[in-house]
Symmetry: C2
Amino acid sequence: MADYILGIDIGGTNTKYGLVDKKGKVVGEGAFITHAHEKVEFFLEELKKNILPKLEGKSVLGVGVGAPNANYFNGTIMQAANISWGDNVPLQKLISGVFDLPAILTNDASAAALGEMKFGGAQGMKDFVIFTLGTGLGSGFVVNGEIVYGHSGFAGEIGHVGVNPDGRYCGCGRRGCLETYVSATGIKKTVFKMMADYTRPSVLRDVSYNDMTAEMITNAAKDHDYIAIKAFEYTGQIFGQKLADTVVHTSPEAIFLFGGLVNAGDYLLDPATYYMEKFMFKPFKKTVKLLPSSLMDQNAAVLGAAALGWEEFSKK
Amino acid sequence: MADYILGIDIGGTNTKYGLVDKKGKVVGEGAFITHAHEKVEFFLEELKKNILPKLEGKSVLGVGVGAPNANYFNGTIMQAANISWGDNVPLQKLISGVFDLPAILTNDASAAALGEMKFGGAQGMKDFVIFTLGTGLGSGFVVNGEIVYGHSGFAGEIGHVGVNPDGRYCGCGRRGCLETYVSATGIKKTVFKMMADYTRPSVLRDVSYNDMTAEMITNAAKDHDYIAIKAFEYTGQIFGQKLADTVVHTSPEAIFLFGGLVNAGDYLLDPATYYMEKFMFKPFKKTVKLLPSSLMDQNAAVLGAAALGWEEFSKK
């Protein structure tokens, strides 16, 4: 058996990579700009230039890749919002060609779930859910110890359950989707609503919509900013309510939260837990753990992509 | 390998049974009154008296049992609303003792899912959901070709996702649960709301709440009764909207509907399909089949219970 899987996490801005051993130790880490808006060939050249030297003298079993809107079944990226390499880019085949190694592709949330299961807090769990709270809201399901891709390969799109049919407009064309409330973008929208609803002063009133970040809102909350705290409460309320709905679907043992918004810690977790329990169907009350990902401080996306590779190629 | 599994479906009113072969052919069928409100020993006596003679000369591998609120993991019935044998009745052990055969227990919706997968319209499918629309709303999930029990053994309680936190009171103690709208009881409540909201005459205005059945509402709709048709539209709208939410969880290939309310056919299916598609996240639009169970006219509950037995005991 080879010693490493090459894990690659492709984001809209940066691509990160590393060689990950069976126990989750990472060597040869690095990152480069994705060049998401040039041709895919340009990305592949960068990939080669950055990574090939790191592979020398290493025994590598294969490549695991996490990317937005990636489909595990056909190895393509489909209509990713922040990457304009075209529709149905056959990335699995292309990356396999670059390294002359077997490659496997999945979306970032499923990769995060696999990483949590193999190297993180979900070790030994057979049923859990992970939410990635970044620009949008992604989710990955594990059921009976296996990742859920579903019939389409796109299972776990909980960012698009309905909160309110007359609610906020969503990039997907509908209204009131969960990710328009619960994500870095969602809480920013909520801050703007709160600034309209309340008269309290706030440092956030000096920042434009385009300049505002989730980090600013978190910092304001830590400084006892009323608007910021209210925004986290509202976000946690909607999130908790929908978590209770998710629980009655597959009955997970735990729900892990991952991504930038989770740095807010208890400002988000406390109201989310309170409202999840408030709306929880009785037989599940106090039985489901809501936890930050244990890989938050590590290169979790690369670990997750590598976990996919270990899962896929070490069976054979 | 033995020829038959004994399938037993325990309902609040009747208990049905039959010997089911590998292909779903049923022999030695029968039914008796459950005596749900006497002691469980009385039920076990009836079970013995009815079924033991049917087993003579037959080669039987084991017993599959479907029952409300049954837990696959520990073989007990827990707090079933319509059966008062006490909490945590160890039914699996008791039934195994009666017949001196291995027995396995699950809830009725999971049994229905297994029946559909082994003998019905879901043959060959790896990802689907079944809804049972009776007094309440039950559901069963299949993911990666396996039934989903979840961490608790109680996965698939979609009857208790929230429609409206200020909505109808539910037997579970919360408000606005899906089954208070979408079930035989739910549509009856909706008819009473519609009779208040509208002035149109209706045959249903002559029937008391306690006397009204879902069958009466279906028959009224078939006779073009305005109130009944509106009630089905309202039911289908709420159902369709929540089906779209369920789809983004596990991405099923099909959703099967089972139970008395499904006899209304297109009165329910048309609005449910329309609103499911209207609220569907774009990548799933027009990809998920909404179908009546193909076992509707058969003894599906017994087939489902037997499918569980085949699943469980023929592996070994």
